[in-house]
Amino acid sequence: MKPLIEVSHISKRYQHIQALEDVSFSVNQGELFGIIGPDGSGKSTLFRILTTLLLPDQGQAHLNGLDMIKDFRKIRKCIGYMPGKFSLYPDLSVEENLDFFATVFQTSIERNYEQIKDIYSQLEPFRKRRAGALSGGMKQKLALCCALIHQPIVLFLDEPTTGVDPVSRKEFWNILHRLKSQHVTILVSTPFMDEARQCDRIAFIQEGRIKGIDTPDVILQQFHDILCPPALQRNRRMDTETTIIQVKDLVKQFGNFKAVDHISFEVKRGEIFGFLGANGAGKTTAMRMLCGLSKPTSGKAFVAGYDVNTQAEDVKKHIGYMSQKFSLYEDLKVWENVRLFAGIYGVPASEIPIRTDKMLQRIGLNNERETLVRELPLGWKQRLAFSVSIIHEPELVFLDEPTGGVDPATRRQFWELIYQAAERGITIFVTTHYMDEAEYCDRISMMVNGKIKAIDTPERLKQQYQAQNMDEVFQQLARGAIRKSD
């Protein structure tokens, strides 16, 4: 049988970056084909070339016998595409978005309702809600509906589940399997290995080159070091019993919606505390209150001994903070960023050079002192951002999804840094969607619909819920609750 998609020797270069180099592969009709690789490895460029949005410098590609370059209009009629970015109109309602894309693709919701019924039935209760007000998982489902409405023969999904919680991810992939059984060919990229395992075949791409194409088992075996690094070992040093975060009956209410609903917990000094929850469960809101950025509606919280209600400024002085969105100034050099933030965090001027040297040495970026931050790979940036956030040696650091978009090996390196910081006595408070990272924590809390549903060590949680891994624990706790929160 002739493959549905054939890509041969495609190369693409942006000014000084070789985005793709000599990429060749083929995808069969009805196949679920995964593309895995770290951020910046050329996945999105590949998707854009395949969806006729970009012209390759060299090489050619055919889809269903149509030439990617010459027959681009015909190809555009028979493919569905979800770009990496959130690609809906936030100010249109669910229904209006779908209706718009249906008309653009020369069809209507009524005519192709069967195609999307499974997914859309979950969205229908919210069809009047603006797309911008949906949770991450719901947005992606809606985007998938929009990409499916014209019954495409191929779906191109560029990291559809990045930033989506495990339960919604699982639902999303169930939908993909159903589509596969309806003979839709799917090309999907993902940073999650559990998702990669569900593909028929996967291609591992790194620095613009395809390193291997085979079944997931073979690829994960072949690139074991990068994709499935060994678990981290930690010598736990829970020396003290002093409490660094104490939260009692904390509430944050927006209108009549309780984003955080009477949560209480404690974090001990030196602990690595994982703060988990589905999208929209209230994690970010809770974290903002603890950092002194937002005032609680009621309840008490003490962070590093300061009351977040009345001493927000003192709280800020004693913590570090790093989020996925805020990292560093892209247009400053590495050392300039370090010096700037050290100054902002109040490190004495005489100590800044010493600490900078020590820190760059530790994270292996000494040779990159003079490099602009935007030229660093994402994994390096994350390590740098983390080290910068603790350059003033705070008692406590808040990390909000610090490892999005990088491969498992890079994430593991990041966690080594976290462990080092913890050994120096810094308490770590971290949110993540990666359940393998959850296992790295000393203790975990699970937030569901604004409440803390469970809080314990990973081992005891697994025992309690009779689960193999944290993913199963998460699924059991969050399932059913997500529907209500959306």
Binding site: T51, L53, P90, D91, F100, F101, V104
Partner: protein, 366 residues
């Protein structure tokens, strides 16, 4: 065609749901017109005048009386030495000084006697207007003083056509029309297209079977309608609140306005083709359209008194031609048949912008 309407519908949702922006767009013309109509004015009133008369005789008295009777002048002091004039100007509480020569009434029939007018020219335009007022009043008064016994002097009878009261609104209404239409059509259109590039929805639209050009054109439709609403508001306000007459053909005025709206829209589309970020689109339209439109279109500064380079540049600004057309049709009542050159230039600009846009527009990403 159904697709095209779907696009337009979506565009209206965007605009109507962004309440703040739509309010600004609808209210701004009203505020501008009222501001320019009532608050900002180039008319010169209450000229604070100082009189220096070494001999305060009957002739001087008569002239001063005349000045005082005039609503534009306000005599604040009569002084006797030049030093006092200097002091008054220094303090900044005088706009104009009128200096009579020694023995004025005796020398009035004498050819070489001269009344001197000293004006504070730190605001040059007002200074000129003030001294011209003063001059004309002095000329009339002198003529009367000389009476029938003297040689007949030429007293010009000045008639100001089209705007006899020299109201500055007459000048500003066309200017504001040009400014507002340019703002809404060019800036808003370009930003709304670039926003889709930024959010990533443009990628999906490009991958769809929709013709990219119809994506772009559909963006222009709502702003076209919005500009027509604004045009109506401005015309109604200026006619019934500011009492600016519409001397010429109303239909002709609407026709050239539509033409200008189209030109501005294509300019907006052109900007959106060459930019990837909303901020850049905003800066380009602000720097390259708004500022030159305000400064070089003749809205505030007269084009004829600009240096040649700027005069040349002003020719390149669409708003300049539009404002000129509005002024001629609305204020002067010139028939359209005499305005073909301006209309031709404006249409030509529109065609050129359209052609460049079409050339630059890509079916793919960069």
């Amino acid at each position: 065609m159904k697709q095209f309407f779907a696009f337009i519908k979506k565009e209206f949702y965007h605009i109507l749901r962004d309440t703040r922006t739509i309010m600004i767009l609808l209210i701004m013309p009203i505020i501008q017109i009222i501001l320019f109509g009532f608050a900002i004015s180039t008319e010169v009133k209450n000229i604070r005048t100082l009189i220096l008369a070494p001999n305060y005789d009957i002739a001087v008295q008569q002239i001063v009386d005349r000045l005082e009777a005039n609503e534009y002048f306000q005599i604040i002091q009569i002084v006797h030495s030049p030093e006092e004039i200097q002091q008054a100007f220094r303090k900044g509480n005088v706009d104009l000084a009128i200096v009579f020569p020694q023995q004025y009434s005796n020398r009035i029939y004498n050819e070489e006697q001269h009344i001197q007018i000293i004006a504070d020219a730190s605001e040059p335009n007002s200074a000129v207007i003030r001294s011209n007022y003063a001059q004309s009043i002095l000329a009339q008064a002198e003529a009367q003083l000389k009476g029938s016994g003297s040689l007949p002097t030429v007293i010009p009878n000045i008639q100001l056509l089209y705007n006899p009261q020299m109201k500055s609104v007459y000048n500003f209404v066309p200017g504001v029309m040009g400014l507002i239409l340019m703002l809404i059509c060019a800036i808003m259109t370009s930003i709304s297209i670039v926003r889709e590039k930024e959010t990533g929805t443009m990628e999906i639209l490009l991958v769809s079977p929709a013709r990219p050009l119809s994506v772009i054109l559909s963006k222009a439709v709502p702003y076209f309608l919005l500009s027509i609403i604004n045009l109506t508001t401005i015309l109604l306000l200026s006619r019934f609140v500011l009492h600016v007459p519409i001397a010429g053909n109303l239909l002709g005025l609407l026709a050239v306005s539509l033409l200008f709206i189209l030109v501005s829209l294509t300019l907006g589309l052109l900007i959106s083709c060459v930019t990837e970020k909303q901020v850049v689109a905003l800066l380009i339209s602000g720097m390259l359209l708004m500022i030159p439109t305000i400064l070089l279109s003749g809205m505030i500064f007269t084009i004829e008194s600009m240096p040649p380079v700027l005069q040349f540049l002003s020719n390149l600004i669409p708003a300049r031609w539009y404002i000129e057309l509005v002024r001629k049709i609305m204020i002067e009542g010139v028939p359209l048949s005499l305005l073909y050159p301006e209309i031709g230039i404006l249409s030509g600009m529109g065609c050129v912008f359209m052609l460049i846009t079409y050339r630059l527009f890509k079916n793919r990403l960069n």
